[in-house]
Every structure is written in C-alpha cells, then in structure tokens.
Symmetry: C2
Subunit: 311 residues, 2 copies
C-alpha cells in the first residue's frame, strides 16, 4: 500500500461517486471555538460514504467473478452501496440483512435491485448466512468494513476533504466496523502534513476503544445504541491500520449522540443519521481539546427513517 494506490482507487471510483460538498456553520464554530468543516457524505450516492468502498471492491473483481455476483451482510448502508454499485456495473448483488434493519434501508436495497436475504440480528448469523450464499451462488463476498479494497475506497472521502482543506489539525470519524476510520487514517497519513485522526464511538458499543487498550480485537456483548451503523466490531484488516495511525477514540453517551444529531439538523439544515453524529458528539464533549483547531468531520451518512426519529 502506498499513496499511488489510493490515487488510483480514487480515479477508478470517480465515475460512480459524487464529490460531496464540504460545509461549515458560523454558529457551530462560535459554539465550539474551533473551525470545523463537515465532509457531507450524507449527500453521497445512496446516502453514505459506503458507496466509495463498495464501488472500489466491485471494480477490483475479475470479469468472471463479476458474472457470478457479489454477496454482503450489512446493517444497512453497505447493503445499499453494494446494490447500487452492482446495478451500475451490471452485477448481481445478494444482500444479507438483519431482520430488524430500518425499513428505509431495506427500501434502498430494493430500489437498487439488490436481492435481500434476511437473518438474525447478530454478527454470527450475518456471517454464516453470507457464507452460505457465497458458496451456493459462487458470489464474491464483500465485507462492509474489513476488506482492503473497501478500506481504500473509503479513504477517498478524507482525500477529497484534505484536497479542499489541507491545513486540518485533526479529522474525526465514527467507528463501527473500522472501515471508515482505517481509510481516513491512511488518507491522513499519505495526504496530510501530520493531521491526526480521532474516532468517536458510542459508549454502548465501545469495542474499538477497548481494542486499542487491550491490543486485540474486542467485541460487544450488546448493541443498545441509537447509532445503528456502529453496532459491529473491528476486523483483522483494519485493526492494524487503526492501531498504527489513529490517535485515540472518544466514547459518547446516547443522549450526547442524539443532541449532536439534533444540533446539526437544526443549525445546518441537513439530515444525518445517528451514527453520523457520533464524532461531532465527541467534539462537543471535549471542546477544550479542539479549541482553535482546524477540525474535519466526516458526516458518514444520512439514511434515517424520518418517521421514527430519536428526538
């Protein structure tokens, strides 16, 4: 892996993604005494950064592999991303989804002609079901976060952000499966001048925080967080990158996530999903640490059921 690889990845996926806008809010900057820029992946195709990794993963497959299709398991956004990227590349997509996934995310998969296969809402059930489909159909398994091509694709959000704002002191991202923060850490490493990367994680699913302390991949016993995109744990492909390049992880409570989400809705007039509010909640919780800094926040996605909001 080097800088050239990421540049190639970025060029390869460009026809399949939006270059999303970078927004800021005077009111929020005043509130926190920092200069914050938000990379709006909630405006990305299908509504989340996941489109970047999914597009790159499918583009990495051989013609023969593409003919047999792709399969993934996902809490939602990666499902839509694979469906849409596969549709655009004329590839069949099998999507294993937990039965309690938000209806808005199931609808997204249907819109993009992915074939949904439901399973129980545990990491184990997801993986077993996806493996079964891969075997039966000969489909290539795409992991939502723990696959190099996905991580490299994800890095392109931060690459674009750093192109526009080269003087960032720090970039904050949410931490779920680790694919976004690992990609962001690679981008900061190769494309910035010492920009740090910090993760925000729900206290209720703080596996990554504990993993960085113990030095091995920890899991969660429960997932009682509103941040439905972060109900998962790190993997062996992204954890080494995170260990090496991520400064630290800040944990936040559920009410802090909801308040941060509401603040962005009300002040910036943009729709973000709960997972997406986690790094901003981490900043609000640690205002002193970020005072007078140039901060980038990756707003990871905007797929939320507007009829079922947490506030």
């Amino acid at each position: 892996m080097d800088k050239q690889t990421l540049i190639k990845v970025h060029n390869r996926i460009k026809p399949f993604i939006h270059r999303t806008p970078v927004l800021s809010s005077c009111l929020i900057n005043e509130m926190v005494s920092a200069d914050i820029v938000f990379k709006c992946e909630n405006f990305q195709k299908m509504g989340a950064f996941k489109m970047r990794g999914a597009a790159n993963a499918i583009l990495s497959l051989s013609e023969e592999e593409r003919e047999r299709g792709v399969v993934t398991h996902s809490s939602g956004n990666f499902a839509q991303a694979v469906s849409l990227a596969a549709q655009k590349l004329d590839v069949k997509a099998y999507i294993v989804m937990p039965e309690n996934a938000p209806q808005v995310k199931k609808n997204g998969v249907n819109t993009y002609e992915g074939e949904i296969i439901e399973c129980e809402s545990t990491p184990q059930a997801r993986e077993a079901t996806a493996n079964k489909v891969a075997k039966e159909k000969g489909a290539s398994f795409l992991h939502p976060s723990n696959q190099d091509e996905v991580i490299y694709g994800n890095s392109t959000a931060a690459i674009e952000l750093l192109e526009e704002c080269p003087n960032l002191d720090v970039i904050l991202t949410p931490v779920g499966g680790g694919g976004l923060i690992a990609g962001t850490a690679l981008a900061a490493h190769y494309f910035s001048n010492n920009c740090k990367v910090i993760g925000g994680e729900p206290m209720e699913a703080d596996d990554a925080y504990r993993s960085l302390i113990s030095g091995k991949i920890e899991t969660n016993d429960s997932f009682h967080t509103v941040a439905d995109g972060l109900r998962t744990h790190l993997g062996n492909r992204n954890f080494p990158i995170i260990k090496e390049h991520v400064e630290k992880i800040i944990r936040v409570e559920e009410d802090e996530i909801i308040n941060a989400m509401q603040l962005i809705w009300e002040r910036m007039k943009i729709i973000i999903e709960p997972s997406c509010a986690v790094p901003f909640a981490a900043l609000l919780k640690n205002k002193k640490e970020f005072k007078n800094k140039n901060v980038g926040i990756i707003l990871s996605g905007g797929n939320v059921d507007v009829k079922n909001l947490p506030f």
Copy 2:
C-alpha cells in the same frame, strides 16, 4: 425600477447574506422527467430567503432612522431575518409575533437579540400591534412582503440562480405574502431570456390564486395549512408585479405538501420547512406540464421544529 437597481441591491446585501448552493438530485429528476435545480435558501443565514429582503430594507434606512430601530410583524422567518440583520447593523429590532408561532422561530429571534412582542394570530392583530410599537418608539416599520426594498432584496435569490443556470424555462416559488414571488418575477424579467415564474400555493390559503382571477387582492377566511409561512395574503406593492410578471399559481392539497416535503428530506438529505415544499408539490402534481423542462425551485427556508414534524 430597473435592472441596475437590482444589481445595486444585490451588491449592497452581499456582505450580510450567504450565496447559497444550487443542488439537484438524479433520483428526483428521473422521477419527474425534468431537470430541476433547487436554490437552497434553507441554507441562508437564519435559515430562509427572508434575510435578503430584511438586510436590504434596513440598509435603505437613514442613519437617523436606524437609531430609532425597526419593527415588524411576522409568522416567523422575517422576524429572525430582521433580528439578525438589525443585530449586524447595530439597530434595535422590535418583533411582533403571533403567540402560536413555532417555538423554534421564537428561539431564533431571541438568539439574534430581537425583542419579541406577542399578539393574537390574525393579520389584523399583527398590524395593529406593530403600528402601536412604531408610533411609541419611532421605529421604522418593515413589512415582511409588501415593501419595495424587501421585494428587491428577495429578488437576489433568483438572480443568483439565473447566474448559475441561465437556461431555466421556469422558476417556481411558494406564495405567501407575495414578497418572494414578486422579487423572483422581477429577477426573471430583468435577468433571464423569457424564463417564466409560477407560484405554488396551499389550497387552504389560496388567496393569491383567487386574486389573480378577480384582479383584486383577496384574503383568506381561515389558515388551516401546514405551510405556516404562507398564512397571509398579497399586498398593494407586490400584487401589481405578480399580476404583470407571474404566469400562474398552482394550488396543492395538504397531503401533497407533506409528501413533497418528505421526498426532499429523504432523497436530498436536506431540511426544508413545509412552506418550502409547496412549489415542489405543485410540480409533482403537474409533471406533464414540466416534462423535459429546465426548472428552478426556490427552497425558501428550513426553519422547522424537528420535534414536531407533519409526517
């Protein structure tokens, strides 16, 4: 009034407003078989286009007038706009608001240091209270929609839109007090090559529709519309402009407004208020008429109580 006047107005208010982005959505374009561009005044300072007219109105006052302050009555957004513009120009603002105005709009006025004076929720009560304050304090009365300086200020949203998209066939705006559509009609007249202007209006407050038929300013007996910014009628300054330059007004039902609002939230991931969804609802209702056209829609504002949504 001529083109030069509007150019001067635009230059004068530029330091006090955002040049808001123009967004589009592939999914929405496919859905309606037209090329739609949305001028996002929901991202304007204080969250609505009203900042443009308010800034221009205060900038038009003499030093002496500014010292005595300004007063207005408003269903909400103009209140915030006058408060913020006055704060920036170090002018005292008295704001007459209906007692049932959304709390989010009252909070906005407080944030910008406007002094709220509550009254009953009728046009008559608003006007009487504002006149009283004007007399007692010597404050200059600013009308939310029926004042030349406000109309000219409002025109700058469409001027910017036409600069970016000079080939628009039609621009759609909501119709409430008439200040936005009149300003937009002037902009289209002076800055476009035959671009039409069409209004969207709730069936439940269709005074402007009836006014264009009868040729005189009609009022509403009731205001049972979710579009809280449109619960008002035209005035003697904007009606002549509307009569001369507006193509027509399309009326929409309440459920059509709410569906259009939800569609923009879900597809574009941006927050718009109900009034703001009315012209898009008009387009959805009349898809055939707009087929293959280049359509601009002024998204007028995004100030909505996110804890009290119509869907």
